[in-house]
Symmetry: C2
Subunit: 123 residues, 2 copies
Amino acid sequence: MPRTPPQCPMDSILRLLMGPWTTHIIWVLSDQGPQRFGVLKRAVPGISTRMLTERLRMLQRAGVVWREQAETIPPAVTYGLTPRGNDLRGVLDAMGEIAERWKTEGVFEGDDLGGAASPNSRL
Amino acid sequence: MPRTPPQCPMDSILRLLMGPWTTHIIWVLSDQGPQRFGVLKRAVPGISTRMLTERLRMLQRAGVVWREQAETIPPAVTYGLTPRGNDLRGVLDAMGEIAERWKTEGVFEGDDLGGAASPNSRL
DNA sequence: CGGCATCCTATTAGATACTG
DNA sequence: CAGTATCTAATAGGATGCCG
């Protein structure tokens, strides 16, 4: 439906990060190191299996995470950040800093900003 | 539906940027300077009146854009980036750089990564 | 355990029309 | 011109259940 005027080179990245939960996942992988599916799921409370798989697949396609499958029974699958994933961490941190600054300026005080598709909200 | 474990300080920022069209709007305002509603609308092709107003209101609430209304007839309303808005521009640029780098590494080759709520796609 | 496939609903955002 | 209001279509994503 909508268009994409070629402008905005960072859109592709944003589109990547934008996905629901995406940052949480990256954050956890970056912070806690490589994790197995189940652990990851528990580390991102509220996410559904479907979502988690979908996001991981997407991040994989983007070369942001790797996936290692142990063909044991039961199977054990581990995910981790690729170097490229760490690039992103940088951006996230940059945002984190600004967020921090804004917070002390009292930006996020009231109700949420009513962004858009943001599954990371109120309980 | 979902939760928000307090982690991920940058989530608030992302939630802000995540909204559809949001980056485009900021980008235009940052690139073209303050603009009137109509011009803005034409600068972000495909966006609906409703969306544009909604996004602008949201960005206003976040203190990212200012709004100046001239009570003439017909009315003339102008929007521009606040200093805080320029902070964001920095983040966007950072992302842009990475995007650029990745692009030369051929990340975004195939179909889109199927992010999430991203109205800024094909067409 | 990891993760598809299915189903089903809540939300979202486009189109349209009308007002100050 | 700059919105608001309404109505609707599309879809994202949660829940569930089964399979390797």
